[in-house]
Each structure stands twice: as C-alpha cells, then as structure tokens.
Symmetry: C4
Subunit: 174 residues, 4 copies
C-alpha cells in the first residue's frame, strides 16, 4: 500500500536530494495508510457480521488504497508537478468516499440499534475530509503547495486517534 | 495477485494515456481476484476439516491466481494484442477449473450430508464460467474486443455476491 | 517466496519462448514452497508451545526459503547454466536441513512423550532428501539435466502429502 | 522488510562477487528484522489491550522498519560507502527508539502492576543498543568497518532470545 523507495545509484548526499519529494510523499502516504489501517481495524472489529455487500464495499476501499503506491510515486517522482498532485488528491477522495460507504454498509447490515452507528456519532471528520480534498484538488491548479498543505492538515486531523468506536466497544483486546 | 502499476516518467495527461489498457486490465483483474478472495473465504470457512488433498487443491488454485499479474500485465502492456488476450482467458479458465476442483475436494472430504454441497446447489455460475472463457478464447482470434467483453460479462455475473453458502452457513462472523 | 515473472516486451509466441526455463523453475519452486508451507503448517500446529529456540529455528528456515526467488530466478534466467543449478540445489539443501532442525527443536521442547516425535516416525523422506540434493549438486557439474531431474523427483516424492502428523493430530480444523 | 536480491545477469562466480556486500547486508537486516519480529510478537502478546496510542506507537515502529530495505540496499549496493553506513545505523537507532516508545506505551496503558513492566525488568539491552548505534554512527566517519562490526555485535547480543517476557507470561502458546 506504500510505494517502494528505490535505492539511488550514488552514495553521497547529492544522490539523496532528488529523492526528498518522493520520501516526503512516502511519509504522507504511510500516515494515511496507517490511519486507514487503524480505523478499518476498529470498523471491521465493530461489525457483527460480514454480508456480501460489506465484502464488496471493503474491496472497493482496498481498490482505492491499492492505487496509493502509484499516486504517491507519481507525485513524488515528479516533484509535486501540476497534474500528479490533484490525482493524488483524487485517490484520497475516492478512498474517503469508499470508507464512508463501507461504514454505512456495516451500519445498514446491523439494522436499527447499530452499535457502530452510536459509536461513529456525527462523524464530522469523515464529512469534512472529502470536502477538504476537493478544495485541495481545485487549489492544486493554482499553487501545488496549497494542495500538499491541505493533505498534511487532513492527515494531522486524523492522527488524533478515533476514540469514538474504541470508547463504545473497544475494551476487549482485538 | 494484481500487477504493479509502474509510475510513468512524464507528469502530463499524455504520459497516462498509454497506461489506460494496463489500468483497465488492472481493474478487471482486481475484480476477479476480489471475487475469488470473497468466495474462497466463504468456501474455506465452510470446510469442516482440511485434509492433505484440500491443501493441494488449494495450492493449485493459488498457482493459477499467482499467474494473474503476469497475464494481466502482458495483456495490458500490449494493448490487448492477439496472443495475450486468449492467454489471459486461459489463466482465468484454469483458475475456474482449480476452484471447482477445490470445491469438489472439500465436498468429498465432508462425506454424505455435506453442508457445502447443499450450500453450493446447482452452481450454474461455476459451470457456465469455464464455457464462457473457452468461447472468449476462441473469439479472441477473431476480434479481441469480444474476448474482453466476455471477461467483463463473467466478472459482472459473479459480482452479484454468492449468497448461497452465506445463507446456509454464514450467520456467524467469519 | 516465489520469483516475479517479468512481463516480456513482445506480444507473440517468440517472446514467450525465452521465458520457458524461468517458468519451469517457477513451477518447481512453487511446488517446493507449497510443500514447505503445507508441512510447516502441520508442524507448527503440532507444536504445543513456541520457545525462543523454536522461533530462531523457524527464522533460519524462513531465511533459506527467502532465497528461493533469487536461486530460482538465477537458474531460470540463465537457462539452467552450470553454476546456478547447484546453487539452486544448495538452497534446497539448506532449507531441508533448516526444516529438520526446526522439527528437532520442537520435539526437544516437548520433552519425552512428544506427540510430534510419534507423528514424524522414521521420517525417511526428511532423511533421504538432503542426500538426494547433494547427489544432484554433484551431478550438476557433469550434466545439468540430471540435477533438474533429481529436483523434480524429490518434489514428486513430497507431493504425496505427509499424512503422518495429520493422522496423529490433525482431526481438528487448523 | 528485507531488500530484494536482484538476479545478476551473468551465470558465473564473477557475477556473484559484486553481490557479496549486498548479501551480507541482507543477512544482517534479516537477523534484525527477525529480532524485531520475535520480540514484537512477545510484546503485543503481552499487551492486555490495544489503545489508540499503542496503535500509533506500533505504526511508528513499522515506519522505521519499512525503511530497512532502502537503508540495507543503499549500504550493500555501495559496498559500505562512507555515507550509507551511518544512515543504516540511523534507521537502526530510530527503530530501537520506536520499539522502546511502544514498550513504554503498552506499560503505561496497563497502569500500575503492569505484567509487561515486570517482564521487561531493567531492559539493559534496550538501553545499551541506542548508545551503541550512536557510537557506530560516529565511528563510521572514521572507519566504516567499525560501524559494521558494532551492528553485528548488537545483533549477536539480541540473538540470545529475550526470555524475560516469555518467562513471566509465555507458557501459553502464542
């Protein structure tokens, strides 16, 4: 889910310098994959049963996450060029939508009185993130650093771990 | 089980265009792998015990699935050329036969009154798919788009999740 | 544990031909990895407790198995050249010794009355294989096809699944 | 977590020779990854519950371990050149600090009377290792073989498996 950091041919600092944008993109994507891994872990743990619909919503999420190495590598290797930055944001946007679909799918399969629904609550982060990604995609055509800044801000916003599900369900060891 | 999407050198739309056939093949194979992953998950969950024969039938299936990155990459990178398209279909055909063998192997190991046998029922999808793959392989020598169309149709046919096993067994969380 | 099959540049049969030795090596290694995976699965399932020594014996086995992609690729890409064939056999030999060490380590940790010891019995396959690998390595300097033949024969010898452990322990689903 | 050993083009001993530094680095990193895998396994097994903080401390450790292929490949492919050797040590240092943070995080989440705290004891290895890595990084600017020697010594120091946690908790099969 994270791109490979190819080994440079030289052995000095100068040969590391062109790798910096890829490394920064790598760190950013590693954090995003970590956020998804951690929340996805709690989400599936909360699901009482796995229906066919949930399996497909999960596969849809995995599809968009599987594009992270491509979009990260393309953005990093081209030093945040005009087109790769919004494409990176588009993959983030689709993954966020896919995560929300999966969450709704699990809640729907649990019927009324869903524990997950109570745990998720208003989910302001899940509602704000897609909006911020769209702003970032639009901004990237104006100044690419604005897009990168928004991607970092959203990641930091999620880095505060999602204690909601944990609080309601998570006393058991996963 | 899915080919790597190599990062193009350019950073504009023109450098993405030649990737489109590979990307479409990637999506198709991702769906196929997802179908196998989901059904395989239900299948092994239904198996009461894993005998040596089941392990080998499972390994045979994994072997053909392990060729997906090669056949997908070959078809996609050559823009659906005359030979790679039927080879892709051949790998799909062998995987379908291997899946059927695994299913029969598990049913046989369960003896009479097999829960899985009841769950699988007539398995018309499992019987129709190999036939359609053979049609696609034959058609690909005439017009490659016919083969691709059939591959997509079979995938869509399976996308309706296999609720049979789920209905009989699957109330428990896997 | 199995080498990557790189996609050839051409799209005709002629571009597949040079891949044949690599593909045959790939199939051979896939079978070997499958044999180890299946028996290793039964072996660890039989282990009552995992001591530090067992973990390291396991890591030693994983180390030699991790060299399979290299030795397979080197033998296949060089079309069974004089040096890569015995190197392939050497890695097989070391993996076989490592497997035997792991087995002894688990038996030792179980103390007298070890269930695994009874299940393994005389283990004539485990004793014969290293001897055959040494013969193959020696023969490869004379005629490489003799080495390949022995590798195939040993694989076929193991393909008959190891029902010993299964018989004594394996009624439970793993 | 371990770099890929690329297959050389030639088929003789001469084509293996330039691979030796990479192979030695591969073995060293394989041992380090094995040490982390084994101790990490015991550590998480000892953790009674996984809080959000623990998940992030775990992700931090995984991040530094994910840089092993890069740092190993860079050091090995450049035959222990002046810069890659201390960079390899820096990644080892950060992984050691991340492991210690994860351990403290789990102990803190267990509150007073933590079983893990008792199991870990004085943890002289965990305290000595970062110090030795810093010495190795400093020494590498003077003579690179001193750094490599220290990396090997620390690995050997850890190869004696960590029986502390095992002794207090580990009678159950993990």
């Amino acid at each position: 889910m994270v791109p490979e950091l190819r080994v440079p041919h030289g052995a000095d600092f100068a040969s590391l310098t062109p790798l910096m944008p890829l490394f920064l993109s790598y760190v950013l994507s590693f954090v995003y994959v970590g956020i998804y891994w951690s929340n996805h872990h709690h989400l599936l743990h909360a699901a009482q049963r796995v229906s066919g619909g949930v399996l497909w919503a999960n596969l849809n999420l995995l599809f968009w996450l599987s594009l992270f190495p491509f979009s990260t590598g393309w953005m990093g290797e081209n030093h945040f060029a005009p087109l790769p930055s919004p494409v990176y944001g588009f993959v983030l946007l689709m993954a966020a939508i896919a995560y929300d679909l999966l969450q709704q799918c699990i809640i729907a399969s649990e019927g009324p009185g869903s524990i997950l629904k109570r745990a998720v609550g208003t989910d302001w982060k899940g509602k704000l993130s897609p909006f911020l990604y769209i702003v970032a995609i639009a901004a990237s055509f104006w100044a690419h650093w604005m897009a990168q800044t928004i991607y970092v801000v959203v990641a930091l916003m999620w880095l505060v771990p999602d204690r909601r599900i944990e609080r309601v369900i998570g006393d058991a060891k996963p």
